[in-house]
């Protein structure tokens, strides 16, 4: 009886095709493939980029944010063409005898401060600082956060506990106090401000990335990559990082907004780079010149408004990104 246990093919069962026949049908020779590979890849990336753009376009919030952000970037890039930088230097304006603490008048559309510097000129040059600090501090935050998060999640064990306790420490310590101390120790240069912001804001990113790295680590393709004989570095860069990247990316925009706000805060507290003009520093000077009590609104309203609008535009873009990257938030 057991002799007949072998499974039988059904009469209609098609014989599986021999491999060579299938290959012939395609009329393909492997040699021609490598040439077209790169172009196929580029085409595909372009297509997925276009699809994402189409999705982004449907969100008016995101579009409005993008338009505002682009406007700021344009102004920052075109600053040297719009107004001379000398307009932000106290010595130059004092010497030229321009009106001091003047309310908006023709020639000085947003008025002047006590050194006779035009507020509009300073706003335009200040955009450069805010955007530069925002962009570079975001990169710094992402690099530190992703490195710590992936190492902790991927290696686990003692490395994980150690890195996560460090992260907890950075999470619970009042960031402003830490930033103040660091900024005054390192000295007020633009680079140091970027470093300070990166150091005080990576912890949350590290937490999120670690969570994602933990789930990616347990996927079978990571086991396969190890079975292939890949080193840890290879497994991390080829498999873990690409699969954690969406999470990192979704955060960048919001972190940029926070970084710009932090820069303004530090500058307002007198820890900004004295060599450069920034919106936060303009606020601080306005405050010192008793702008509120004397009613000199043009000293504080324009820079304050610029900060709010720039940060808001980034938040709006971030909101739209969230909807693109998180399919659960999409309307069906």
């Amino acid at each position: 009886m057991p002799g007949s246990l072998q499974p039988e093919m059904l009469p209609g069962d098609p014989e599986p095709k021999p491999m060579t026949a299938i290959a012939d049908e395609q009329g393909l020779t492997p040699e021609i493939l490598p040439k077209s590979r790169r172009s196929i890849g580029r085409e595909r990336r372009l297509r997925s980029l276009r699809a994402s753009w189409a999705l982004f376009r449907t969100s008016w919030i995101g579009l409005a944010g993008l338009v505002v952000l682009c406007l700021f970037i344009l102004i920052a890039l075109a600053a040297p063409l719009l107004v001379p930088k000398s307009g932000t230097l106290e010595a130059v304006t004092v010497a030229s005898g321009s009106p001091r603490l003047s309310p908006p008048v023709p020639g000085y559309p947003l008025g002047t401060d006590k050194f006779g510097r035009s507020i509009s000129t300073m706003l335009i040059w200040g955009a450069q600082v805010s955007l530069l600090v925002g962009a570079l501090a975001t990169v710094g935050t992402m690099v530190i956060g992703a490195a710590v998060g992936i190492s902790a999640g991927f290696f686990g064990g003692r490395i994980d506990s150690l890195l996560m306790r460090l992260t907890d420490w950075f999470l619970v310590i009042p960031w402003l106090a830490l930033a103040l101390v660091l900024a005054s120790i390192l000295g007020p240069t633009l680079l140091n401000i970027i470093v300070v912001i990166s150091i005080t804001s990576w912890a949350f990113t590290a937490r999120v990335v670690r969570a994602q790295a933990l789930t990616v680590k347990s996927r079978p393709y990571v086991e396969r990559a190890k079975a292939l004989g890949g080193r840890n570095w290879h497994v991390i860069t080829r498999h873990v990082l690409p699969n954690t990247f969406p999470i990192v990316f979704a955060q960048t925009i919001l972190i940029a907004a926070a970084a710009i706000l932090t820069e303004s805060t530090l500058a307002f507290l007198g820890l900004g780079d004295p060599q450069s003009v920034s919106w936060g520093k303009m606020l601080q000077e306005g405050f010192n010149q008793a702008a509120i009590t004397t009613g000199r609104w043009w000293l504080i309203i324009p820079p304050g408004l610029c900060i709010v609008v720039l940060v808001l535009s980034l938040t709006m873009i971030g909101y739209a990104f969230d909807q693109i990257l998180n399919p659960r938030l999409r309307d069906r």
């Binding site: 072998q6 599986p16 492997p30 493939l33 190890k226 004989g229």
Partner: protein, 332 residues
């Protein structure tokens, strides 16, 4: 020299309460060009053996015994040697191909990854080789740039097979390559594997719970129960005239299309395989065995060779050596 030689292999997983012996003293050899089938229920230690061969088990797992891969002891390898041996000497076709491919990388890149990891100088030639491998497993070479989500389950499994062949390994371990595929696709994948095996003269370790599958592809079968080999012999013989009651139950559980007497009356096997942390005394199979008698709960049967290259571990079988160790002796 055998491609793979396993001697007295013991694998104990680390658990909170001491340890779970998943494999308890397994011996087998795979000669060049031979296909060894490893059969048994879930949880009997089959996949653990596969993991032990390329050392992909959790860190705290204890592995004792000897595993010689192409004459080299796997258990004594340093991390660098181990990485070099993985995939070059032994590659794995994982169970559940759906998850063994990275969703954000094209299948071509993942095959190339295997080639380049072991031959860093082959970046230029690898794409052509990957395309050729794809055609060898019955896929069009043009699909090299496709992402895994564009492939069906059967196609993904073909990609996994192509990947397993990428480095011309001495041994291919197929760990339940047909689970999670429907019956038609199963048949196609099996015949593909059988074709490739005879074409390339592959040495294979084929792991499955489906005895009928093994009859088609394997030369010899080892049937495992509770971490031990209970029956061993040429594939046809083991399937058609099983000796051990467990093998009989496995063979009898397979439904036969067209057999009137058998129809609607497949004999199953009640119960579950034992918990590795709580293996029954004597013959581990005795609580579920239909033919258990007097000495079974106390005497551990040993794998006794019989005529025509077969062996089985059962006290019922003539020639089995009862009393190798008895639990009574141990306890008294």
């Amino acid at each position: 020299m055998s491609v793979l030689s396993v001697r007295d292999l013991h694998v104990t997983y680390h658990t909170g309460s001491g340890g779970a012996p998943a494999v308890r003293g397994v011996n087998f050899d795979i000669e060049r060009g031979e296909v060894l089938g490893l059969a048994g229920e879930s949880g009997c230690g089959k996949s653990t053996i596969a993991g032990a061969i390329i050392r992909l088990l959790p860190d705290k797992t204890k592995i004792a015994g000897e595993i010689l891969l192409e004459g080299k002891s796997v258990l004594d390898m340093k991390p660098g040697q181990l990485r070099a041996a993985r995939w070059n000497e032994a590659s794995i076709i994982f169970q559940g191909a759906m998850h063994a491919l990275n969703p954000v990388t094209s299948i071509g890149d993942q095959i190339i990854e295997a080639i380049v990891t072991h031959d860093p100088g082959s970046t230029k030639t690898a794409p052509a080789k990957a395309a050729k491998l794809l055609e060898q497993v019955g896929l069009s070479g043009r699909r090299i740039d496709d992402y895994p989500h564009r492939l069906s389950g059967g196609q993904k499994q073909r990609v996994m097979i192509a990947m397993a062949l990428a480095c011309d390994p001495a041994l291919v371990i197929a760990d339940e390559p047909t689970t999670a595929l429907d019956v038609m696709v199963q048949a196609q994948v099996l015949s593909l594997l059988a074709d490739l095996q005879s074409e390339l003269g592959l040495s294979m370790l084929f792991i499955t719970h489906d005895l009928s599958v093994l009859v088609e592809v394997a030369d010899r079968i080892d049937v495992m129960y509770a971490g031990q080999v209970v029956e061993e012999g040429p594939a046809e013989d083991v399937f058609t005239s099983p000796v051990h009651p467990y093998t009989k139950a496995l063979a009898g559980a397979y439904p036969l299309i067209g057999d009137r007497i058998y129809r609607g009356n497949p004999t199953g096997l009640a119960g579950d395989p034992p918990d590795p942390e709580d293996i029954p005394s004597g013959c581990a199979f005795h609580p579920r065995c239909a033919e258990a008698f007097g000495p079974c709960p106390t005497t551990i049967p040993s794998l006794a060779p019989s005529h025509d290259g077969r062996a089985s571990a059962c006290l019922l079988i003539e020639g089995a050596d009862p009393g190798a160790t008895t639990s009574e002796e141990v306890s008294s």
